[in-house]
Symmetry: C2
């Protein structure tokens, strides 16, 4: 859905050693993009990157070095620690497109549920902390299991991209479009990010009921 | 997705004179179900019902009489007045399956946004008021334009059904299934209703950007 050229860009993935971060890194590397995985522990990031060496150009380092190296920086860290990590990286992330992918969820024996966030959503919290960055929300509802599975060639899902900066949301839509099956779609302003993050709790309920790896498609677009 | 038999049931639609209520009534009537439209003004309900006389069995009356007549009662009223209406109908709705379809949204020049709800969501507010009823949330994200268009034979969307009462959610899934193209799907517990209601704000943003009547499909189910 976009003509943005991404081939010269380096994509950083903070929290890149978890399933979601590794899965997104895999897909971007398969598409031929340069990917830098970040982690609190550089050796764990290097290990995760080595596991993707056969699919493309992926290297691993600290979150701070990955943030500095990335032209576009995805935030795929646990909600617990989200604010602290971003606050520590304001210099590295200044002026960059930062894509928050974090879902603030709680879990109990009845499953997942949305946690309240003072700023409204994880994405809005990122925007409040990273006042010099161009913050976008995206990739909230994509199954890590499907992303990580090398047998899955096409990831059948739309990626709702949330933000108030048109050039930034257009670029992130284009980034989603590089993954076969995935379609980047503008999904509204930052103030409407909460429900897209929280919808992941519903997809977890659906996965449990239907034994699925649910994703979302928007119809009539 | 269900074997529930709905043919003997009367479906009431409170707030049945608005586009969403009329649209849902049309689809259930086309499917051969008995439908009663409710409105604050019985003559407006009768008028809306007369407009659907050629598609099936639809009659119009007051919200209170419709609530009393329905075996399953859909609540499709404006958010402003939702609590007051339900509080006035606790007797009529006692013991019944009540399907809340209301999206608490605000609108300004930047579009739609989710309103905070003290109980968490419109559906949870209904459950808090109607303690003798079996409250389910559903039909939040279905385009009224498509529902009302007689040229649209198939409404290409999933209907996420939210609730803590399995028998009730199963029945409401079956109710969605009677509409060609529509698929009723369990979407999680009542505590996860808010984000499904609020997602309608994102669909409104998508409709504006892409000139669409967006709906939602869940993939891999």
């Amino acid at each position: 859905m976009s003509d943005v050229d991404l081939t010269s860009l380096t994509i950083a993935v903070l929290g890149g050693t978890g399933p979601q971060g590794r899965g997104l890194a895999r897909r971007f590397a398969v598409a031929g993009l340069d990917v830098v995985l970040g982690s609190r522990d550089a050796s764990r990031a290097a290990e995760a990157a080595a596991g993707l060496a056969d699919v493309g150009r992926v290297r691993g380092t600290t979150n701070a070095e990955a943030a500095a190296a990335g032209d576009v920086v995805l935030v795929v860290v646990p909600w617990d620690g989200h604010a602290e990590l971003l606050a520590s990286l304001t210099a590295e992330l200044d002026g960059k497109i930062v894509v928050d992918c974090v879902n603030p969820l709680g879990f109990d024996k009845q499953g997942a549920y949305a946690l309240p966030v003072e700023e409204g959503s994880a994405t809005q919290q990122a925007a409040a902390i990273l006042t010099g960055s161009r913050v976008v929300g995206a990739f909230h509802n994509v199954s890590a299991v499907l992303l990580e599975d090398p047998e899955v060639e096409s990831v059948d899902t739309d990626v709702l991209v949330l933000g108030d900066d048109r050039e930034a949301t257009d670029l992130v839509q284009a980034l989603a479009d590089v993954v076969p099956g995935m379609r980047g779609m503008y999904g509204g302003r930052l103030r409407n990010a909460h429900q897209v993050e929280a919808l992941t709790a519903n997809l977890i309920s659906i996965n449990r009921r239907y034994k699925a790896h649910a994703g979302v498609r928007v119809t009539d677009v």
